[in-house]
Amino acid sequence: MMFLSLLVFSPLLGIVLLMFVRKTDERMIQWLGTAATVPPLILALFAFVQSGRGFRLERLDEARDWVRLTDLPFLTDAAYVIRYELGIDGLSLVFIVLTAVLATLAALASMLVKTEKKGYFLWLLALEIGMLGVFSAANFVWFFLFLEVTLVAMFLLVGKWGGLERERAAYSYLLYNGLGSALLLVVIAVLLARTGTANFALLHEMLHNPAAEGQLIAPLTAEGRRWLLGGLLLAFAVKLPAVPFHRWLIRVHVEAPPPVVMLHAGVLLKIGAYGMIRFGIGLFPDEFRSFAGVLALFGVINVLYGALLALRQRELKRVLAYSSVSHMGVVLIGLGALNEAGIQGAVLQSIAHGLISSLSFLLVGVLAHRMGTTDINRLGGLTKAMPLFSGYLLTAALALLGLPGLAGFVGEFTSFLGLFQTKPALAAVGALGLIFAAVYSLKAVLDITFGRPRDRREAVVGSREPQASAASLGEPQGGVVDLQGKEAVPAFILVALIVAVGVYPQLLAAPLTAVVKTMMNGLGG
């Protein structure tokens, strides 16, 4: 069966077809680019539904010979053979569905992108392949390859289609993530050298089964494992990002085109969470215990640091950027709790934040297009002119601050519940972030939608924020028109999903239960 390969590489069809479209035919490009994201969406939803009905996801595993690194006679046949291997479980599945959904919505939202549309969609689809591949890979080498695809695609999307300081943002992104990747590569190389395999399941077997441990090419001491885990966590902490590795995220959030941020904040950051769970807890459960306290501490720092800085921002994108830092802290809190609630909470928070940040940036895109600015000081009273838009923006703010009944609450609640079992005092300190979240979300959104309408050409006198100019994307292009039908569709879908997860989280929790249980067994808990 080639189901997973089909799922991951189906956007390739769109890429090929796009090659034959004229550069100037923007309608065709938009249509084709959007249509190309639909096949993976259908396949992902199909897999999700089927697994809900009891289909065993292991049956989707794929493996093919790819590279044989050595032919030394004393090694077993399997050693140093890197195969093309895909395979998913419940954990990967929820991330794949998230990716597929957000990719389609981001493609829809890309109608506001006007320059060099063809190249834009080519890279957007490449980005989708990379993301789907990251979550489908069953092999470290392939995981890394797909990860690098996202890195390149993202670098170009930010650098070419971004705002005024796009190149700086793109290089910043490349620098941080490149260093993270380099570290990851070292870890992968060491693991491969010592075990002779890059397959997750085999690695797991070799590292944990005393019988299989004899097959190690060379032994891995407990200290060595701790180093490897430390490297992994550091590499993924950059992706997540954890304070103090977050500066690139702020730049990318501000400078990248909003539909790309939908995918960036929605999916790419979650690779950090996914990696920590899959490889950190999955491969080094015993060593992970000794890192749990640090992770939880960094989680709390992230939550408070992000929230406190979000308070001060007067540019909506920066508010959202720091709120992403804060929300990724909740993921770390869940992982640091290292119990069932915590791990499940970290995943739920990842998905929830993916949906919510996508919604926010979808709206940011519309706002920038209509008003020519996302500078809060220059906006006000929008509810009058754009009631529908304002309603959606308020919904996004409420989701962001973790209102029950919406997805954000489920993630935060479950993660904090986890940490309250293991480190109640630390968790209580982190819970203060919930207050700050309410302050910054409401402050930003009410200043835009409530109050007296402002003249958007009103100069911001004495603004000391250097990024105020970067916020303006030129003159308003659309005039003040409320959310239009085509823009309202992705917004409505996202709100519907946010409500669905918030009201009935079992929808997401069900596929995770088995995975979380396996992890807990690994942890010996």
Partner: protein
């Protein structure tokens, strides 16, 4: 029918969704959707109540989320308290829906208003059906959302925007306490269910220290929601919302949710003496504290708002003094008379288009329905005998005397004096005296008067559910027959009566007959007057301490972020760059250099190999 109680909240939810989708098209007809939905809720709730009167508690649960081996549930629990609250909320909500049709007529966002009312009613009904803390918390925050949306209904007013934000944030501070308390309880008992938690208290699974900590944390949530000191400052500002909203949310139902929560967890609170004392003290202090501020307010709604805070303090005092029944009794009578007072105030505002009582006067004749109904409300809240408030307040004073500290009892008596004084100050200023340029002021439509009339009847009648003369029906039913009437000394009722008449008399002297100068207080102790007018400077204190501290930290972090963190990143980038240029110097095309680099590299590798035996770590 109790097994179908979950349907009750769904009608207003349906109304919310329908109005959100089609409200703009239906315009003024939206009111009928809301009114019909809440009427169905009310009827359904009454059937449930009647069922519960003759039956026993019903509970049902459904899976919400599983975490490992634990299943978190949502469900319904029809206890006596819940059935009672369900009917009460549905009733007041329905009356306010009817009243709003007239009050909000012509508003541009009429359908949105009804949509929000529906959302709020749904959340409130969901809250009072909760069988567990998690569900209570979910709906607890959702009622806060309804309140937030309706306070900010006039979104273009800067005051409304600020008030809405403040209401959400202040209550959120309390909610975080609630959340922490609830999670602590969860890990002690492995359940959010009230019954499981009560059982854990009973069999000692829950240590006394943990119980005290958790319930006090949860009580912080109640402090926030019920506008108790020191988290009360949002409630007076919440008066920026439309007046029917103030009646429903900020008088009768949502602000009483804190009292309800403590009542729902009563066995837990009873297990901790410290917690009970905390509840009683906060309640008693709030009762007198808010009443003093109420003395000098000039905005009709703000007087009522401070009075609400004060009355909620009474209810907390009752709970802290161990009298669950007195608290719920007063919650009920207060819901009726305070909703009545707010709706009547709305009718006054509707007629004269101002909220400043110093610009009002002589409206008794112009508002022939509103005025007497307001008087009924004022008499009831002042605790004049034969009115509902008299019976419920008496019950609280009795409880405070028998179980509470003496000081709190006397504070409550003093607050009762102040209550009747400020209520009748309000009454005389608005309705007596000479009419002032409100020639066109006239009574509102029947749709506004009728709900007030119903509430007027209830502001008298609801007191007779629980009297020393006709038996304690409410108490016996609420406690499943375990209720025993506190043998309080008879002089308390006499004292309460004297106090209440004294306050009315004083108000009459100053504002009715004007035999005493109005500036009697401000002339003698101007600084006290100033202190009260500025609400004890609480808002200013918060601004100068908490708010400026947070903003200071935030500014500090901004510098850290911009210089320290960014600087480190530059440093890292610089090192990489330096390494790159150093490395490229080795590749200058000269064979000698390549040779040197190769030898050096080999030497390093050999050293490493020699030191580690080939396997590092």
């Amino acid at each position: 029918m109790m097994n179908l109680a979950w349907v009750v909240p769904l009608f207003p939810l349906g109304s919310f969704i329908l109005l959100l989708l089609f409200g703009r098209r239906w315009k003024q007809r939206s009111a009928y959707v809301g009114i019909a939905a809440t009427l169905l809720s009310l009827l359904w709730a009454l059937v449930v109540l009647v069922d519960r009167l003759g039956g026993s508690t019903y509970e049902a649960n459904w899976t919400w989320m599983t975490i490992g081996g634990v299943t978190l549930t949502v469900g319904i629990s029809v206890t006596a308290l819940n059935a009672w609250m369900l009917a009460l909320v549905a009733l007041v909500s329905w009356l306010v829906h009817v009243y709003s049709q007239g009050y909000m007529a012509g508003d541009e966002r009429f359908s949105t208003f009804y949509a929000y009312l529906g959302l709020f009613t749904f959340a409130m009904l969901g809250l009072v059906l909760s069988p567990n803390l998690l569900q209570a918390y979910i709906f607890w925050e959702l009622v806060g959302l309804g309140s937030f949306l309706l306070i900010g209904f006039y979104f273009y007013k800067e005051e409304a925007k600020a008030a809405a934000k403040k209401a959400f944030i202040m209550t959120r501070i309390g909610d975080v306490g609630f959340l922490i308390g609830m999670m602590l309880l969860f890990w002690q008992t492995h359940s959010f269910d009230y019954d499981d938690i009560f059982r854990a208290v009973g069999d000692g699974t829950l240590s006394p220290g943990m119980t005290t900590l958790a319930v006090i944390l949860i009580f912080i949530g109640a402090i926030g929601k019920s506008g108790q000191f020191p988290l009360h400052t949002w409630l007076p500002d919440a008066m920026e919302g439309p007046t029917p909203v103030s009646a429903l949310i900020h008088a009768a139902t949502m602000v009483a949710a804190g009292v309800y929560l403590v009542a729902a967890l009563f066995p837990l609170y009873e297990a901790s003496h410290t917690a009970m004392m905390t509840v009683a003290t906060i309640g008693g202090v709030t009762a007198i504290f808010a009443a003093t501020i109420g003395l000098v307010q000039t905005d009709i709604k703000r007087v009522l708002a401070y009075s609400t805070i004060s009355q909620l303090g009474y209810m907390m005092l009752a709970l802290g003094a161990g009298s669950y029944v007195a608290a719920i009794f007063h919650l009920t009578t207060h819901a009726f008379f305070k909703a009545l007072l707010f709706l009547a105030a709305g009718s006054v505002i509707h007629a004269v288009r101002t909220q400043n009582i110093e610009e009002m006067g002589g409206l008794w004749r112009r508002l022939p329905w509103t005025a007497p109904l307001f008087l009924i409300g004022a008499l009831s809240i002042s605790g004049v005998p034969l009115f509902a408030g008299f019976f419920s307040k008496d019950e609280i004073l009795a409880a405070a005397w028998t179980n509470g500290p003496r000081l709190l009892f006397w504070l409550a008596v003093a607050a009762a004096l102040l209550t009747s004084f400020y209520m009748f100050r309000l009454f005389f200023l608005v309705f007596s005296g000479k009419a002032r340029h409100h020639e066109d002021a006239h009574e509102a439509s029947a749709s506004m008067v009728a709900p007030m009339f119903v509430l007027g009847v209830l502001s008298i009648a609801s007191g007779y559910m629980q009297t020393p003369w006709f038996g304690s029906f409410l108490g016996e039913w609420l406690t499943d027959g375990a209720y025993r009437h506190e043998a309080a000394p008879g002089w308390i009722a006499v004292l309460a009566t004297i106090v209440s008449f004294a306050g009315i008399f004083l108000a009459w002297l100053m504002y009715g007959a004007q035999k005493m100068p109005r500036d009697w207080l401000s002339a003698r102790v101007p600084y006290v007057d100033e202190l009260l007018r500025r609400h004890y400077y609480i808002d200013d204190i918060y601004r100068l301490t908490v708010v400026s501290l947070v903003s200071w930290i935030s500014r500090l972090l901004a510098y850290v972020d911009r210089f320290l963190v960014e600087g480190l990143a530059r440093l890292a980038a610089g090192i990489v760059g330096a390494a790159a240029s150093a490395g490229s110097r080795g590749q200058n095309g000269q064979a000698q250099t390549y040779g040197a680099v190769t030898v050096a590299g080999l030497a390093i590798l050999v050293v490493i190999f020699a030191l580690t035996g080939g396997y590092w770590l």
